[in-house]
């Protein structure tokens, strides 16, 4: 459980990036934090594993205040995958990259090997086991970064822009994978601009703007809220755009799912006797 209470944060000598944020994320929840560049999304989630400590206010992870814990101890339960994999990767092979944190956490060699095999397989990276991460494409490096965090099986997983550079198939895998983690009771927080991805996952959505939270609720409800969306420099998902433009038909408003859209439009078509 993550509890953020009235958190303000100012970068040394710089901007106030968070201006009083209060938010609580329950165990097992799937939350997407959205908003324009510079809204404070990444700054906020960096508070969840103690990478940043609030200038005022408190952040508690499973009841422990982050100012009273080290990043290393928080990391065991909060895994953080950065936006830019190059900020995270440094090992000579993909395998060593994944092994690094596992060794640091003091796992047994057999467990480490097992976890590496599991993570490589999960993210379709097995063929690159002995390859340097820097020989891989941008999308593949991103998966290595994700694999290295998943390997130690944290309870809370924070993914900063996980869909950047991922193709359709990888995004679909990521989505299924998140669903699978959810069934295991994991808490998942993603920071993303990818409205179509969020529309497919339909998580709880937290919209940020200029260091504050401007909307918080079910994905379906927030992603069809034309006003809130425009305020946050995001765009409506395509399906929501169509339903917003078809307003005068009096159809249901909160539609973001392709198949639901199909059903509603077919029903209307049949109702009109065509």
């Amino acid at each position: 459980m993550i509890e953020v209470e009235n958190v303000r944060f100012r970068y040394p000598g710089g901007v106030e990036a968070l201006k009083g944020v209060t938010l609580s994320i329950r165990n097992g929840e799937f939350v997407a934090i959205m908003g324009q560049n510079g809204a404070g999304k990444t700054t906020l989630v960096k508070h969840f594993n103690g990478l940043l400590k609030p200038s005022s206010g408190t952040v508690r992870v499973d009841g422990v205040e982050t100012t009273k814990a080290s990043v290393a101890s928080l990391s065991r339960s909060v895994g953080f995958v950065f936006q830019n994999p190059d900020h995270q990767l440094f090992s000579e092979t993909v395998e060593e990259e994944i092994a690094f944190a596992l060794k640091n956490f003091g796992f047994e060699p057999e467990t480490i090997q097992k976890q590496i095999t599991w993570a490589l397989n999960l993210l379709s990276l097995t063929q690159y086991q002995k390859t340097s991460p820097f020989m891989l494409s941008g999308g593949e490096r991103k998966r290595v970064a994700l694999a290295s965090v998943l390997a130690w099986d944290p309870q809370i997983l924070i993914l900063d822009e996980p869909t950047i550079g991922q193709d359709h198939e990888q995004k679909e895998k990521l989505r299924q994978f998140i669903v699978q983690l959810q069934t295991q009771g994991k808490t998942i927080v993603i920071v993303t601009h990818d409205v179509e991805f969020v529309a497919e996952c339909n998580p709880r959505v937290v919209l940020m703007k200029e260091g504050t939270i401007v909307a918080d609720g079910e994905g379906k409800e927030i992603l069809t809220n034309t006003e809130a969306i425009a305020q946050s420099s995001i765009v409506l998902p395509q399906i929501a755009q169509i339903f917003s433009q078809l307003g005068s038909l009096g159809l249901s408003k909160n539609v973001i799912d392709l198949y639901e859209a199909k059903e509603i439009l077919l029903r209307e078509w049949e109702r009109q006797g065509k």
């Binding site: 830019n84 494409s137 193709d167 420099s233 395509q238 399906i239 169509i242 859209a261 199909k262 065509k274």
Partner: protein, 283 residues
């Protein structure tokens, strides 16, 4: 004359065991807006590196086949000669930025080409304004966000006003509205100045509507190549696993159920709304 033409282009990185692109034969006409897409690792970025000579001049390795860009044989012209005609925006902007201020980064290419001070000033301001970073011009490119860095990289290329712009996922770090704004700018340059655009993107929902031509790659090979609507609507494309825009999928689902939506598949939600308004009675 085509802006870019390749014949049986095959390239293997040094130490690579198999080619990253193989037997690629494509033709990009002057003034085209081409979208190159395909699963990650399919060779899109490598192909783009051929367009300004980074492959083979910088990366070395083994290049076979023919490639002509802006009338020049890439294997016989160095990257700096090609750079006058082809601007490349990379996936990761940090690899491209190096100067002390954003303004200097944007001016760098122009300085090298020997523009006058006034013209340089004019072009740099124009590019900074178009990309919405004029107010940041005195900041260091390393203290701004990933999205802002992407805009700097795009501005630096726009300032050169090359005949061909090649962009490799240029807006991946930007929020959707900023991304849309950049795509609109690129689209305008394409329409009004006739600049040939080659755009590498996974997100077809944001970009398909701008492109008249699409090339789909998989495992180093070209799998589909042709008019955007036609290709996105084909069964074969579906099988490659490309992210078809939601509106195009909705169109197909409804058509299959017998709804009369015409024969032209939509590429944007505006187009789809129009089709639905015609099919359904709008009070």
């Amino acid at each position: 004359m085509a802006a870019i033409e390749t014949r049986n282009l095959t390239y293997t990185y040094p130490g690579g065991t198999k080619p990253s692109i193989s037997d690629v034969s494509i033709k990009v006409e002057k003034g085209d807006f081409v979208l190159i897409t395909g699963p990650s690792g399919c060779g899109k970025t490598t192909l783009c590196r051929c367009f300004n000579g980074l492959v083979p001049h910088f990366y070395q390795g083994e290049l076979k086949g023919e490639i002509t860009v802006a009338g020049m044989d890439v294997t016989k012209h160095q990257t700096h000669e090609l750079a006058k005609h082809v601007g490349l925006v990379f996936q990761n902007p940090e690899n491209q930025l190096f100067a002390l201020s954003i303004e200097k980064d944007v001016a760098f290419g122009l300085e090298n080409l020997g523009f006058s001070r006034e013209e340089m000033r004019e072009r740099v301001d124009w590019a900074l304004n178009l990309t919405g970073i004029y107010d940041l011009r005195e900041r260091s490119p390393h203290e701004i966000s990933g999205g802002q860095q992407q805009r700097v990289a795009i501005a630096a290329v726009l300032a050169m006003q090359p005949e061909i712009i090649v962009l490799d996922e240029p807006t991946s770090f930007l929020d959707p509205l900023s991304a849309e704004r950049i795509f609109e700018v690129i689209h305008e340059l394409n329409k009004n100045l006739g600049i040939t655009v080659v755009l590498v993107e996974h997100r077809l929902d944001l970009t398909a509507k701008y492109a008249n031509h699409i090339i789909i790659m998989d495992e180093g090979k070209v799998r589909s190549d042709g008019e955007t609507r036609e290709i996105l609507n084909s069964e074969q494309t579906r099988l490659i696993g490309v992210g078809i825009p939601k509106v195009t999928l909705l169109y197909e689902l409804l058509k299959k159920e017998g709804m009369n939506l015409g024969d032209v598949a939509p590429l944007s939600s505006d187009e789809m709304t129009k089709l639905l308004q015609e099919a359904l009675r709008i009070r």
